[in-house]
Amino acid sequence: RSSTSTFDFGSYHTLDEIYDWMNTLVHDHPTLVSKVQIGQSYESRPLYVLKFSTGGSNRSAIWLDTGIHSREWITQAVGVWTANKIATGYGQDPSITAILDSMDVFIEIIANPDGFAFTHSTDRMWRKTRSINAGSHCIGVDPNRNWDAGFGGSGSSSNPCSELYRGPYAHSEGEVQAIVDFICGHGNVKAVISIHSYSQMLLFPYGYKTAPAPNHQELNELAKKAVSDLATIFGTKYTYGSIAETIYVAAGTTVDWAYKNGVKYSFTFELRDTGHYGFLLPSNQIIPTATETWPALLDIMIHVLEHPY
């Protein structure tokens, strides 16, 4: 068995390497970390979630996912680094310890394993799932347009050949349905943080409409603090705001679904960078990106801990 101490967090890895590393993390932290299979992908790959828990039953929980768009490799790499940070930080870092003494954290590092495997084997630029679309030669659905939150509206496409294809119906993608089932089945998820790249933003609902969300002010203040703390590490500037007001109206997204289903603290990150590498962020930027993202994630998690609802 490989060791978490020899794993290169500063390199990109294949699906098998990351799944193998997840087993190692569980092995190294058996009383804290476990691996849960929440479903399977279109091509029958397992969908794994790492559960960080110090006990209790059905505690309040924080959900993080990375890699829902498979070509955004920096996100899966940040997911790995973050999972390791949480596992090794428990009992050492007071913030992590306080969070895990009261709440559980779930991390889905590879939310779109078929797409991720495809980026390694065939097309590095693949974004969508790998499901076949009836009546079209084009493959895949954009899993961040497939959620039942304004599904079918602006910023998504009905054309299966589009990168923004929403799919035939909400939750048509097994990868999306698995998360829906898990979060709804859990019933006590208080925060959803979905990590994407690139363009350096921290966004919150709504995406499908321009009206402010009922909790707009609180989410905005929290986002402001998070991006401010992120910038203290390397000076990386993030913008923040609602998806619709900050970038464009985008229907059927993860965070809108979560918010609509009662998860107040619903955010999506767009990690580095602007104007240099896009989805091809060099691996020497993995650790700096993860390092600067961490205080922002921690701000959100601590806020959730301190503001129960």
Partner: protein, 94 residues
């Protein structure tokens, strides 16, 4: 494995709503090989477009003909991919 030799990513800065609409046309045509890494959205936000080498002349011509300003963000996508693969292999060896 798909290669991206000579493919470029163009960093496009639309000047007004009309140019944003024109840029969206490129997306609506949805040629599978031309795709937005960052979609044209609101003024002040650039768009990034991956263009295969075979269509560079056509797409640049389209942008020039509409006076849409752009720069080349990535000169040769494959070069970056080769570098990425080399780094991954080196990491595995280590």
């Amino acid at each position: 494995k798909k290669t991206f030799v000579g493919d470029q990513v163009l960093h496009i800065t639309p000047r007004d709503e009309e140019q944003i609409t024109l840029l969206r046309l490129l997306d609506d045509q949805t040629h599978p090989e031309v795709n937005y890494w960052r979609h044209p959205s609101i003024l002040g936000h650039p768009a990034d477009l991956l263009v295969p080498s075979s269509r560079l002349q056509e797409i640049k011509g389209f942008l020039d003909s509409h006076n849409i300003s752009y720069s080349t963000m990535i000169e040769d996508v494959q070069k970056l991919l080769d570098e990425e693969m080399k780094t991954m292999i080196k990491s595995r060896r280590t």
